[in-house]
């Protein structure tokens, strides 16, 4: 069922979206990478422990790293071939991370243990969560929080709705847009599986109005399924931020410091849902994803189906390479993405985009004095007063940062974007947040000791 009304939240910005660079270009399958690097950290949580060693032969889909705790997620070989090394390699997070480097034999021989699962209705909630856990599925929107943890809701919380996040409010990115158009059935199936795992009767697929084709495709796929709705959302950043999405769709607010489950909701990215459906369909764990490689420094921007572990540079090369020197290569979108130091880092489970910006597009003007115009406060989706928090942080007044709710900041960057004085507001708030957290820890240690 497709709802006609358009929902939204209070605040937010309208950055230039630049999605036309890639949204009409059909998705391409990336060339088979010669070598993939599988970091033991492809998710938030404890890193994996490698279970293969140099010289081992591995098959596609074979587990190469074992999860080391509940909030952790196994990693798998995305190609078949030989393990060339198990050593520290550059990671998109800027550090060197223990990784399994696999030289592909070009055959993509699938691990024989990988078989399709039966229809999902024949599994219990716990079985579904186990299947998802073993398939290494994590939030593919970018946060890479292990999905099995998300689906394991403590019994004192009453979850009644699953929301699929197909908002993709980050400028430039079109990976989710393409995925919803190419595989709407998987998106809907994934939602049904998540609803069964959570024993929930209501599912909502939320999509921004700037993706009419995706809305149409998903609405068609969802037709006739009880309890599943497609909800149109206003095109505005950060419409896809978890809290803003929940409020727009349900009218509820996630309490400060709480989880979506405290508002009775579990939110999943559409890509994650499609991967869950794919895993049930084929048995294949998460080894491949849609990545938008775009920006004014790329010759032929497009969205591509890329194996996890493929170096960024190879993806860029397959888009025709750089058209002009790139001043910035960003993992993700321009609002919350992380600027990379190098392009030989591997595509991860949460890599939604590789954004290459020229010097002009990446230009950030020098900051000047705050004129108290209040724009940052009026766009803040959490209704904070960012100019005050950032000023307190610069004066190292951590107590005042806390008093003005620095910890509730979701770091969406709307304040820094809108600031006419070009102040790096969200960066100072980040510093403030970290200090407030550190002070809290200190206090906790003191009161315990």
């Amino acid at each position: 069922m497709q709802k006609t009304e358009i929902c939204s939240f209070k605040g937010g910005i309208h950055p230039p979206y630049n999605k036309e660079l890639t949204n009409a270009v059909p998705v391409r399958e990336a060339k088979e990478p010669a070598v993939v690097t599988i970091p033991m950290s492809l998710h938030i949580g404890a890193p994996c422990k490698p279970i293969v060693k140099k010289g081992d032969t591995v098959l596609m889909g074979q587990k190469v790293g074992e999860a080391t705790g509940f909030v952790s997620s196994p990693v798998h070989a995305s190609v078949s071939g030989t393990v060339k090394a198990v050593e520290e390699r550059p990671h998109p997070n800027g550090n060197n991370v223990l990784s399994v480097v696999i030289e592909s034999d070009g055959n993509d021989t699938v691990d024989p243990s990988i078989k399709p699962y039966e229809d999902f209705t024949s599994y219990s909630s716990k079985e579904i969560i186990d299947i998802i856990k073993n398939a290494g599925i994590v939030g593919m929107g970018g946060a890479t929080f292990p999905t099995h943890v998300k689906l394991t809701v403590s019994p004192d919380k009453h979850v009644d709705t699953v929301i699929l996040n197909g908002v993709e409010c980050e400028p430039y990115l079109t990976a989710d847009d393409h995925l919803m158009q190419d595989h709407p059935d998987r998106v809907v199936k994934g939602l049904q599986i998540a609803m069964r795992a959570l024993n929930v009767q209501k599912g909502v697929i939320a999509i921004e109005t700037n993706k009419p084709e995706a809305i149409q495709a998903v609405a068609k796929a969802a037709e006739g399924f009880q309890g599943i709705e497609v909800q149109k959302l206003a095109t505005k950043y950060p419409q896809g931020a978890e809290k803003q999405l929940i409020t727009a769709v349900t009218g509820r607010e996630v309490p400060s410091g709480g989880l979506p489950a405290d508002a009775g909701v579990v939110v999943m990215n559409v890509g994650t849902a499609a991967q869950v459906a794919l895993t049930f369909e084929t048995g294949m764990p998460l080894i491949e994803r849609y990545v938008t490689c775009t920006g004014d420094a790329v010759k032929a921007p497009c969205t591509m189906k890329v194996k996890v572990g493929t170096p960024y540079q190879e993806v860029i090369d397959q888009c025709g390479g750089f058209s002009q020197p790139a001043a910035k290569v960003i993992s993700g979108g321009p609002m919350m993405g992380v600027a990379m130091q190098r392009t030989d880092v591997p595509v991860m489970k949460g890599t939604s985009g590789i954004l290459c910006l020229s010097k002009e597009a990446a230009y950030i003007p020098e900051p000047s004095a705050c004129i108290r115009c209040g724009r940052c406060a009026s766009v803040c989706p959490i209704h904070l007063q960012p100019f005050l928090i950032s000023a307190f942080a610069q004066k190292k007044r951590w107590d005042r940062c806390e008093e003005f709710h620095a910890l509730d900041c979701i770091e969406c960057g709307s304040c820094s974007f809108i600031c006419p004085a070009k102040r790096t507001i969200v960066s100072s708030i980040r510093v403030g947040k970290r200090q407030v957290q550190a002070e809290r820890k200190k206090k906790a240690v003191k009161s315990n000791g």
Binding site: V329, I364, I371, R372, H383, G413, I418
Partner: protein
């Protein structure tokens, strides 16, 4: 192209910025003041333009010199001193002597703005503080008589002055003349035409430089209170410095509240104060003192109108 010879910039997100800058905002304010400037030139002649030019030049020069002396970055490129110069000139009578213009501007920029830390740190509006300083120092120069070349007349009192002193009420201009400001109206250089100022205000609203709350509520408060004092609301809102003050000076970012609720309280306060001064005060006009007083109250207003933060229950918000 190979990336081996490229050096990638690493900085924290976001990686893009909106187009509007401090100087583009200030330029918009200057553009919005042009209609009123045109009316001033038409009614008062070239003398009005000279006063504006002198004030702008003095403000920019004193900002540059002070910043140089204080070893700060020279920020005259942000156009904020230009805005202060025009606004202060707009608040002066056309017969204001040149030295008074200079003194007012130097006071506004050096004492009120730079000594308190420069742009963003002044606690009252510099142009209004400059005017208040001149009014208390040389009251006769700030009122007095003036020759209006357009109508070839010498006038002595503003419409509000006539009202205050209980003069010949038949001398009051019509509402239409008050609104257009083109004919037989006397007042400070930039305040005579409500229409010209409104055009500027609409431009600022369209460009999203200001929001509607402060000007609409301020002017609305005066209009609603007027009948209570048996005054003509149209006369009250078109006379004196109300339009200029409500649209261009009460909306000064630095000295007005940033919260929506705060802006409402602030604007109502400005309106009340203006009416009280006009009706009960010693001065015929109260716009500038009203705004200055509410400027001072701004930190207090902001403190009690903090927005409810997402995820906090209503009763728990401070």
């Amino acid at each position: 192209m190979d990336n081996k010879d490229m050096i990638l910039t690493v900085s924290s997100s976001p990686h893009i910025r909106a187009k509007a800058t401090t100087s583009s905002i200030m330029r918009d304010v200057v553009i919005a003041l042009i209609p009123a400037l045109a009316v001033a030139a038409y009614v008062f002649g070239v003398k009005a333009l000279l006063i504006v030019a002198l004030c702008v030049a003095t403000c920019v020069a004193s900002e540059a010199i002070t910043e140089r002396i204080m070893h700060r970055d020279v920020t005259v490129g942000d156009w904020s001193a230009v805005v202060t110069g025009i606004l202060l000139a707009f608040n002066l009578p056309v017969q204001a002597p040149w030295w008074m213009c200079v003194v007012g501007c130097v006071f506004a920029i050096v004492v009120v703005k730079q000594l308190f830390g420069g742009l963003g740190h002044n606690f009252v509006n510099p142009a209004l503080a400059g005017r208040a300083f001149l009014l208390s120092s040389w009251p006769t120069h700030m009122t007095g008589t003036a020759y209006i070349p357009l109508t070839d007349t010498v006038t002595s009192a503003t419409p509000l002055g006539i009202l205050k002193e209980g003069g010949n009420l038949a001398k009051l201009p019509s509402d239409l003349n008050m609104f257009l400001g083109l004919h037989g109206v006397y007042g400070a250089i930039g305040e005579i035409s409500a229409l010209a100022l409104l055009i500027g205000g609409v431009y600022l609203l369209i460009r999203k430089v200001i929001n509607w709350r402060i000007p609409v509520i301020y002017i609305g408060t005066v209009a609603i209170l007027s009948p209570l004092f048996k005054q003509d609301p149209i006369f009250m809102i078109c006379s004196g410095g109300l339009m200029l003050g409500a649209i261009f000076m009460a909306t000064d970012y630095v000295t007005s509240p940033t919260t929506a609720k705060g802006q409402v309280i602030y604007a109502v306060g400005c309106g009340l104060m203006t009416m009280f001064i006009r009706m009960f005060g010693g001065y015929p006009e109260g716009v500038s003192y009203s705004i200055l007083l509410m400027n001072v109250a701004t930190p207090l207003i902001e403190r009690f109108t903090r927005p409810r933060v997402y995820g906090y229950a209503k009763e728990k918000s401070e």
